[in-house]
């Protein structure tokens, strides 16, 4: 059974074109969401089992889970 996919943020180095890194990520099984070409990051989804493979791709600086952000609904006591 294929691994359940989670959302990840891949941070890239400016030393390699981001579009090339994105292609390598896709080949490794990463489903691309957004390529943020101004700020050196790519968001997308992948199973936990391939994350280490993603980290070894040339030009990949970091792979971290896509964290939720929540400032609470209107008039919430817990906000930011």
């Amino acid at each position: 059974m294929p691994q359940k996919k989670r959302n990840w943020i891949v941070t890239t180095s400016a030393d390699r074109p981001i579009t090339t890194i994105a292609k390598d990520l896709e080949k490794a099984g990463f489903s691309i969401g957004n390529v943020n070409d101004e700020i050196q990051s790519i968001s997308g989804a992948a199973g936990d089992d391939i994350v280490e493979k993603l980290r070894s791709i040339s030009g990949v600086v970091d792979v971290s889970a896509d964290e939720p952000i929540d400032i609470g609904p209107p008039d919430s006591p817990d906000t930011w």
């Binding site: 959302n7 943020i9 941070t11 890239t12 969401g33 957004n34 943020n36 070409d37 101004e38 700020i39 050196q40 990051s41 968001s43 600086v61 970091d62 971290s64 896509d66 964290e67 939720p68 952000i69 929540d70 400032i71 609470g72 609904p73 209107p74 008039d75 919430s76 817990d78 906000t79 930011w80």
Partner: protein, 443 residues
């Protein structure tokens, strides 16, 4: 002195007859200054206009004014052409034939269909039509004029408060009603700056695009959360209000916004229920940087360690001469992400006694802003509301940053970051609580 292009004289139908007399050609300079203060105008325009004629047109220029129904006084009617403006009575215009120019009263200008923007025909005797400006012998006089306006506004607000009168006189010019405690603490009303040309991106829950206080503003919006940009939460509208709200809000509302002439870039990275993800936020930052917004304000975050992607985003901003400011967070814990990235300015919250708010995160803090009981815009029908948080402090910094950026082309990215810190008002608490102090607007 910035010249306003294509600007029509302000209409004030409730007092046009009074203004017609006050702003006439025979009005004294004191009358003109008082009238400008009363309408909250610190553009240094007197309310009158100067028409300049092409060379050698002689009486054709005078005729063109009379043809429009203006009562024209002529300097040649006076001994030695020594005219004291106060002596021309109720003439609408005074012509100086020797220099080919005329002064025209604001009321006559407007009533006779003249405008600064009017197409001047090739065969017209008119060379140019421009606003008349106050001149000051001493540059500090100009500061005093502007400060006098602010003091007058605050004095009147104090009087109204102490009289216990919650119902403000509806006839009062809204500019004279004062400003929020946060704007006053940041020295915003005294600033001559307004952020014209400095794009400010606010990444949040969007904006109430139909809010009357943003009518006529340049707004570029984009959603990154699969919902329309229209703010149904309130947080985004409140933050954009603080950073970029109008100089004179509708009605008798106090001024609550700082950079009132900036183009607004409203990026919706949080849903109407207040939730989002790092991915969506990064997409929003990417958009703001692609649009080269010198100031990017983020009143959002999570209690996580430094995220590599936010640090990379902050670095990209700085290398492009742009600045990201972010709220430190309200958990009374170490600064959260994205504010904890070394390439992003973290903002702490202050109460109105200028002490750190009890909820304000600490540790990695660069600067502080007003964050307790902050009044600003919220979506219709409510229109205005008060909120507290480092979320409210952050757009104070963003708005002031836009004013500084307008003041000098070199104040971008890291240079802007350093200037904000260097000019902050020092406070007695440590940097881990309040950074370099309370952000201040430029003069």
């Amino acid at each position: 002195m910035a010249k306003k292009r294509g600007k029509q004289p302000k209409k004030d139908s409730s007092s046009s007859s009074r203004q017609g007399g006050k702003l006439g050609v025979s009005a004294s300079v004191d009358d003109l200054l008082t009238a400008a203060l009363e309408r909250g105008d610190d553009s240094l325009e007197t309310g009158r206009y100067i028409v300049t004629y092409k060379e050698a047109v002689g009486d054709e220029g005078i005729r063109s004014l009379k043809d429009r129904g203006l009562r024209v006084a002529d300097a040649r009617d006076y001994t030695g052409q020594a005219v004291s403006l106060e002596a021309v009575g109720d003439a609408d215009a005074l012509v100086f034939p020797e220099i080919g120019a005329a002064v025209i009263s604001g009321a006559a200008f407007e009533q006779r269909g003249l405008s600064v923007q009017a197409e001047i025909a090739e065969d017209s005797p008119i060379e140019a039509i421009e606003p008349e400006y106050f001149a000051f012998a001493d540059p500090t006089d100009q500061d005093l004029y502007l400060r006098g306006f602010r003091r007058a506004a605050e004095a009147i607000e104090q009087d109204l408060r102490s009289a216990g009168d919650a119902e403000l006189d509806a006839e009062l010019d809204p500019m004279v009603v004062g400003a929020t405690w946060g704007l006053i603490a940041c020295n915003v009303p005294a600033s001559s700056r307004h952020g014209l040309g400095i794009k400010v991106a606010v990444l949040d829950t969007g904006l109430d695009l139909g809010h009357p206080d943003f009518a006529g503003r340049s707004v570029v919006s984009q959603s990154f959360v699969g919902e329309p940009v229209q703010d149904l939460h309130s947080h985004g509208t409140h933050c954009i209000g603080t950073a970029c709200g109008p100089k004179a809000p509708v009605g008798t509302t106090p001024r609550y916004g700082i950079a009132y002439r900036t183009p607004i870039f409203a990026g919706k990275v949080l849903s109407n229920s207040g939730s989002g993800s790092t991915g969506g936020i990064l997409a929003g930052i990417n958009w703001a940087i692609a649009n080269r917004c010198p100031v990017i304000s983020m009143s959002l975050g999570a209690q996580t360690p430094v995220q590599a992607a936010y640090t990379a985003a902050g670095a990209a901003a700085l290398s492009n001469g742009l600045l990201i400011v972010a709220a430190a967070g309200n958990a009374n814990q170490p600064t959260g992400a994205p504010a904890n990235s070394p390439t992003i300015m973290a903002v702490a919250s202050l109460d109105n006694n200028l002490r750190r708010s009890s909820f304000s995160n600490f540790g990695k803090i660069e600067i502080a802003g007003p964050g307790r009981d902050v009044f600003s815009s919220v979506p219709r029908p409510t229109r205005y509301g008060t909120k507290s948080g480092t979320s409210m402090a952050t757009p104070h910094v963003a708005g002031c940053a836009a004013l500084w950026a307008q003041s000098a082309a070199a104040l971008r990215g890291m240079a802007l970051w350093r200037r904000l810190q260097a000019t902050a008002r020092p406070l007695s608490e440590p940097q881990s609580r309040v950074g370099k102090g309370l952000v201040q607007a430029p003069a």
